[in-house]
């Protein structure tokens, strides 16, 4: 039974669960990517509406996954929740703002008397898809580059800069990570359009957008990979719990956890195949290769940060304030309760998959968004 598991096993399990949710969120950012494509890939109002309505059927799922990611971290790693959100205040606030303006934009954009005008809501969507994702990427980047905070004896956080997390976006690694995620989201968005929309011209342009955005993403990806395997990392001595700097830490993690290496390479390969299938082979199923690949890459990234005696939220100000999955987690009792709750996740995934299949069985057409149900359309 779950209750008999060791606390450290539960902590590792919950890092895995949080990683799965976080990785699924990365896949679902195809919605955000699609939102930015309305300015670069759509050539008419009709095409714009097709993209927005295609994404509009899934935006809530992405939003909910982000909320669950936050909730899972709060429940399983409350010290991370308190330290990161309370310390890197401005990064999280700006991310939240971009998600507020996204949530209303779908519903309000086409409604008459919407005060701000359709164009404003489209810009809101674009801000969410670009700035929002960039900042999320920068925040994840700090798992490897560290943040300027310290914790006192009561684990109360003090941030060492007045910018409260915004300084993270100026770090080249974090910035590259953020930009990579922006282009990855656009690749996924383009592949989802190809899979979900029936419109010859738009689909043609979306196919092109998928590989062009891959080209844009590649330099950032290479920079991230080279940095990862060469940078110093934040290691933890398992016997004492002391954090120290280790040369080639993340390369050591990759070599020490071959499964993670396989996940990373397999994931990247899958994304690249998805783009090739969409852009050059005329297939519509690229989103699934891209999606699965993204999830695998996400799992690899989170595993590199959290497992193999690594501090996943390192402090540059006071090394010993760094957070590990062991010192930041909830009690054994809470993790056990939450593990029983998590048994429901496969059921949730099953009904999401069923409804997804049902709703996407027919492609979205111009006739549908201008037809009888036009009032409900975005």
């Amino acid at each position: 039974m779950i209750g008999n598991l060791d606390h450290s096993v539960l902590q590792q399990l919950w890092w895995l669960i949080a990683s799965v949710v976080g990785s699924l969120f990365l896949f679902l950012t195809f919605v955000q990517g699609g939102q930015t494509l309305i300015f670069t890939t759509a050539s008419s109002e009709e095409e714009k509406s097709l993209i927005i309505n295609a994404m509009g059927r899934k935006w809530e799922l992405t939003f909910t996954t982000l909320v669950l990611f936050g909730g899972a971290l709060f429940a399983a790693f409350p010290l991370f929740y308190a330290t990161s959100f309370g310390g890197a205040y401005w990064v999280w606030m700006l991310i939240l703002f971009t998600f507020i303006i996204q949530a209303v934009s779908y519903e309000y954009r086409k409604k008459p008397d919407n005060v701000l005008g359709a164009r404003t809501y489209e810009i809101f969507m674009c801000i969410n898809g670009s700035v929002g994702i960039l900042l999320i990427g920068a925040a994840v980047g700090t798992f490897f580059t560290g943040s300027r905070f310290s914790l006192n004896l009561y684990n109360s956080v003090t941030w060492a800069t007045p910018y409260h997390g915004l300084e993270a976006a100026l770090n080249p690694f974090n910035l590259a990570f953020g930009l990579f995620l922006v282009f990855l989201a656009r690749i996924l968005g383009a592949m989802y359009i190809v899979n979900h929309v029936e419109h010859e011209n738009l689909v043609k342009r979306a196919r092109k957008a998928s590989w062009i955005n891959l080209l844009w993403a590649l330099p950032f990806l290479l920079f991230i990979l080279i940095s990862l395997v060469t940078m110093e990392g934040f290691a933890v001595d398992p016997a004492t719990g002391l954090v120290f700097m280790e040369k080639g830490k993340y390369l050591n993690n990759l070599l020490g956890m071959p499964v993670v290496l396989v996940l990373l390479l397999g994931g990247l390969g899958s994304v690249i195949y998805g783009v090739a299938a969409t852009g050059f082979l005329g297939k519509n199923s690229g989103i699934w290769f891209g999606g699965i690949g993204t999830v695998l890459v996400g799992l690899a990234i989170f595993s590199l940060a959290g497992y193999h005696n690594t501090a996943f939220y390192p402090s540059l100000t006071d090394l010993q304030s760094s957070l590990t999955i062991y010192n930041a987690s909830s009690s054994k009792y809470t993790l056990t309760v939450m593990s029983y709750v998590a048994l429901a996740v496969p059921v949730v995934l099953a009904y999401i998959a069923y409804v997804w299949k049902l709703m996407d069985a027919k492609k979205l057409t111009v006739a549908e968004i201008t037809g009888e149900d036009v009032k409900e359309m975005y």
Binding site: T64, Y81, G86, A103, V348
Partner: protein
């Protein structure tokens, strides 16, 4: 605590209150309207009458406009626990985080997944599956309320946990004590039934407007009858659960009850103040009268608080300064114990850090003796233990008065509907329309009672708001407060304009 921290706390409280109040404009309508739409669609599926489908789709459009902004403000609340209340997040995250995660797994995905079917599935899924999806959205929305109210109930009545001095945090000991605490159960039943009431007022009010304008009369009357039945049942339930909730407050948060009634000096056969004007100069412990004017009903507060009209109900003075004759331990005395607990905790942490096991053990033993009043150790003055009385008192009384009016309105609607003269009752239709606004006032007042009445505590009796907040310069929170104020107000105005336009267009466009 220095002034800068107080300022940060003030802004953090203002920001959270702002977000919560905006959130609670949209959410109660979502909770109730989702069920009303499910009723309407069920009638459509049962009868096959296309007019019911048209009616369903009209209310669904209004639901969708409201839903999006409810979701947007909700995500902010969850993350504000981390951004603005980081010490709180750490100190109680072991307990508080679980309901939020469960809410995500069980409720949000149900809502999010079937919401797309509800809106875009009319021609993509079968009639039966569409109806099923509509019901799932209603159930998902209300399941979400279960878990967030479990979390809120725990803040009002912390249970099922213990303090871990090594981690300096509270940890969960019994999940079922947290999930099924009587405060949580009554919070859920009272809050959701009041949400059903508000949504019924909304549907009745908008339909009444159609009758006043002599438009869509058939659809309006149908909507009004279904909503009035739902609203009346909800109203009765609100009254019943309100009484239970107040009983729980009396037993577990006596200071809040005393503030709700402006009761400074505890007494037997305590009266309820039916109406009153609070003396704004009154402070705990002084000799000024509590009210400029008041109308009392003798013994009713004792009956409500203890189910005994002759029983003793403690007042604010008793709870602040103590009343040994009645065995009431006041905040003044608890502060002394609490400060010992805090000092011993600090000594324990320091000794442990230095590796002095003997000193640590001695400090821990003393801490254990005094830890029950740990939270009071953070207070500087016992008067801080009392919440703002006037705000709590007026909000409670506004809520109760309006809560008494609403079932009468629903009954009147049903009476004239069955007489077949509803469209001719101009006064009633005007009252129904105006009652939408009154419903929102009652909702907001209810939350003010619950949250302002809980002050100064983030976790009742354990953690004052001043200790719970993030260590951050006040200017940061001040800026984000105004950013939220501007954004939420702009979006609210946009929502109202869009709603008004959709109502003007009506169901037949």
């Amino acid at each position: 605590m220095g002034d800068p921290i107080l300022t940060t706390v003030d802004w953090a409280r203002a920001q959270f209150a702002l977000t919560a109040m905006y959130h609670w404009i949209f959410v109660p309508l979502t909770l109730g309207l989702s069920f009303l739409i499910a009723f309407f669609e069920s009638i459509y599926v049962k009868t096959g009458n296309e007019e019911w489908k048209k009616l369903t789709k009209f209310w669904t459009t209004l639901f969708g406009i409201n839903f999006a902004i409810g979701v947007a403000t909700g995500i902010i609340l969850e993350f504000q626990f981390g951004t603005n209340w980081s010490n709180y997040s750490w100190m109680v995250g072991d307990i508080f985080g679980a309901p939020l995660a469960i809410e995500g797994i069980f409720a949000f995905f149900l809502e999010a997944t079937f919401f797309a079917v509800m809106f875009f599935g009319w021609h993509r899924v079968s009639k039966g599956f569409h109806l099923f999806s509509t019901w799932m959205v209603a159930i998902g929305s209300n399941l979400s309320a279960v878990w967030i109210l479990v979390a809120n109930g725990w803040m009002q009545f912390p249970t099922g946990m213990a303090f871990n001095p090594d981690k300096a945090r509270f940890e969960m000991q019994n999940f079922w004590d947290v999930a099924l605490s009587p405060v949580a159960v009554h919070k859920f039943t009272h809050t959701t039934s009041s949400a059903f009431l508000l949504a019924s007022l909304f549907v009745v009010g908008i339909s009444a407007l159609f009758l006043l304008q002599e438009r869509h009369q058939k659809m309006a009357k149908r909507s009004m009858v279904v909503a009035a039945v739902f609203g009346f049942i909800a109203s009765v339930f609100v009254g019943f659960t309100g009484d239970e909730a107040a009983f729980n407050v009396a037993q577990r948060q006596p200071m809040k009850l005393a503030a709700m009634e402006g009761l400074y000096v505890g007494q037997e056969k305590a009266p309820i103040v039916a109406m009153g004007i609070i003396n704004s100069k009154k402070k705990p412990g002084d000799d000024l009268p509590a009210f400029y004017q008041e109308v009392k009903i003798p013994g009713l507060l004792s009956l409500l608080a203890n189910r005994d009209p002759n029983s003793f109900v403690p007042g604010i003075n008793d709870l602040v300064f103590g009343n040994p004759e009645r065995n009431v331990v006041g905040a003044e005395q608890r502060m002394v114990t609490g400060k010992i607990a805090l000092a011993e905790l600090a000594r324990y942490k320091y000794a442990k850090d230095k590796g002095d096991a003997e000193e640590a053990a001695a400090a821990l033993a003393l801490f254990d003796q005094h830890k029950g009043d740990l939270g009071y150790g953070y207070l500087n003055n016992p008067i801080e233990a009392a919440p703002p009385v006037a705000t709590t008192f007026y909000s409670f009384h506004i809520m109760v008065v309006l809560g008494t009016l609403f079932p009468v309105i629903f009954l009147a609607v049903l009476y004239f509907a069955f007489k077949g003269t509803l469209e001719y009752q101009r006064w009633l239709n005007l009252l129904c329309f105006f009652s939408i606004f009154l419903g929102y006032v009652a909702q907001q007042a209810g939350w003010i009672v619950a949250e302002v009445g809980r002050q100064p505590w983030a976790i009742y009796g354990l953690l004052p708001v001043g200790v719970a907040s993030t260590n951050i310069a006040a200017s940061n929170v001040q800026i984000t407060f105004f950013m939220f104020l501007t954004l939420f107000t702009a979006l609210l105005l946009a929502e109202i304009r869009i709603m008004m336009k959709q109502i003007k267009i009506g169901p037949e466009a």
